[in-house]
Amino acid sequence: MIFGYLTLHRTLAKYMALPLLVLFLAACQSAAVPAAEARHSIHIRGSGALMPLAQLTAENLMQEQPEAIVTVSGGGSGRGILSLIDGTCDIALASAQIIPELEALAADRDVQLESAIVAYDAIVPFVHPANPVRNLTLEQLRSLYDGTLTSWSEVGGPNLPVVLISRNASSGTYEAWKQLVLGPKSILSGQALLMESQPMKTYVSTHPEAIGFSAFSYLDDSIAPLAVDGAAPTRSAIEQGQYPLRRPLYVYFRADAPEPIRTFIRSIQQTASEHSESLGLFAGEG
């Protein structure tokens, strides 16, 4: 009897040893994987042109919900969308539509993106205040930035060589400039110096031969904004659609974004319509 039981036991052991071992190994494996933690934070990255709007919306939310965490970071439109694709942010601020390279990367990594327009703004070319030029046609701007015109004297200015300043290719403002000013047939002159918005403004404010461009909200007294095709970049001219270099500003997010992210995006849109003037942005289609 006892012997029989032991035999049965051994037989069981014989047949069960390997499966048990496999199960044991599998258990060890799964125990090593940390349990996924629910994230109670929203991370926003991207274009400087939309940062003031995102900051205002985020601070309002954190005031209402003190336990909430909403972070805002810059890095440009390209970095924002890249971070959205690689999972290091939840909302990307983009001052232009996604470029084909990033669209391909998202498809490659099996990430589906959605976008929404949150506001509009204008891109404004600017020069040193001592430069007498205050107006350029779209055609002249294109000829300057593709390198056809190289002296200020060719557009009614002093006999000085033109120093072009541009944003680099990951910038949404550059992308919009490419579409609105350079057009499909021209490419940016290889002579252009590439800078981010703040350094560009500092450079142009200290170099009378330089020309740069930025979002409307970046303009200040240190530089002289230019009229384009005779339309000065004033709030009313931009609102009424007379100023030609106007562009939509987007947020991008993952198609599977949870409800808190979507709610926050609606808050961004609402904040944009309520505070557009103080933020240097423009609401609606116009």
Binding site: A13, K14, S41, E59, M62, L82
Partner: protein, 316 residues
């Protein structure tokens, strides 16, 4: 006959169990026994060390080496796959950034300036602050935007500016160097306090003082100046609106094809790896998982508590 069979069977089972144990003890630890090399910003270094310590306490098989050398060398090293993770105390520039660099925001800190309660100054522009720290503005009355009447109203008229700094080996001083001093020294008249509490005490005792402290070092009586009209707070650091905000990043290279710096733990381990034809691709995979597991910890509640315990603002 029957007895011999049993012996063979028992021996077989024993061998299976032993082999299973051997595989488990050599291969399984292989996925967790790992050495990570983290390098970069000296500001983030104390945070990286504390995070590494907390992580290795929970994962005794893990070794993490943290080295300093600056954000830029750290980024270059990780971009060239020479280290596993770079710590950075600044944003990547557009030129440095690339599709293969994944950067995690892991914490924020901010540099604040406190003054005596009787000081009528409420706000400094970034330019004014830079001029004070460079020794170009040495007198409170020279600050634009302070009307003489508001100074008279207070009774005490602050005059020569007395800068009170944390010691040069403090984290606060490192942040000040990164954000404002950019390698320059503070004016010769600067008083270096023993620690943050001493900065507070010295500022509380001197109506002409301006003290450098991080947000977490402040106490209830600290009076912070707004900078460019923005008050330092957890919220303004999280949204980056406060101009003297420091962001801490962990950067990893998605395109690492280097093996672990510590691929095999023993000869038996190497033999088993060969025996089971674990190729280098799997080892790269193991390394990736080790890096990501550490990053997951840093972004988890536990990791963020380590960041908070050292004074930074948690971001998850």
């Amino acid at each position: 006959m029957k007895k011999q069979w049993r012996i063979v069977l028992m021996a077989g089972v024993t061998v299976l169990i032993l082999l299973g144990w051997a595989i488990w003890s050599q291969l399984k630890p292989q996925t967790s026994y790992h050495t990570l090399l983290i390098g970069g910003s000296s500001t983030v270094h104390p945070y990286a060390e504390a995070l590494a310590q907390a992580y290795t306490e929970a994962h005794p098989d893990f070794k993490i080496h943290c080295v300093t050398g600056g954000s830029t060398p750290g980024l270059l090293a990780v971009a060239n796959d020479a280290i596993d993770l770079a710590t950075m105390s600044r944003d990547l520039t557009e030129d440095e950034d690339g599709a293969n660099l994944k950067n995690y925001l892991i914490g924020r800190d901010g540099l604040g300036f406190i003054v005596h309660p009787d000081n009528p100054v409420q706000n400094l522009s970034l330019a004014q602050l830079e001029a004070i720290l460079a020794g170009e503005i040495t007198d409170w009355s020279a600050l634009a935007g302070i009307s003489s009447t508001s100074m008279e109203n207070t009774g005490a008229i602050p005059e020569p500016i007395q800068i009170i700094s944390s010691p040069v080996d403090s984290n606060t001083f490192t942040i000040a160097s990164d954000l404002l001093l950019l390698g320059e020294e503070l004016p010769a008249s600067t008083v270096y306090a023993a620690d943050a509490a001493d900065v507070q005490a010295k500022v509380a005792a001197d109506p002409n003082a301006i003290g450098l402290v991080c947000l977490h070092e402040a106490n209830a009586s600290s009076r912070f100046l707004t900078i460019n009209q923005v008050r330092i707070s957890r919220e303004t650091l999280l949204t980056l609106r406060y101009p003297l905000t420091h962001s801490f990043y962990l950067v990893l290279n998605l395109q690492h094809d280097r093996l672990s710096p510590d691929p095999a733990t023993s000869n038996l381990g190497e033999w088993l790896l060969r025996f089971f034809k674990l190729d280098s691709e799997q080892l790269v995979q193991i390394r990736s998982e080790a890096i990501l597991d550490f990053v997951d910890f840093v972004c988890s509640r536990d990791g963020q508590q380590v960041i908070e315990s050292l004074g930074a603002v948690s971001v998850y």
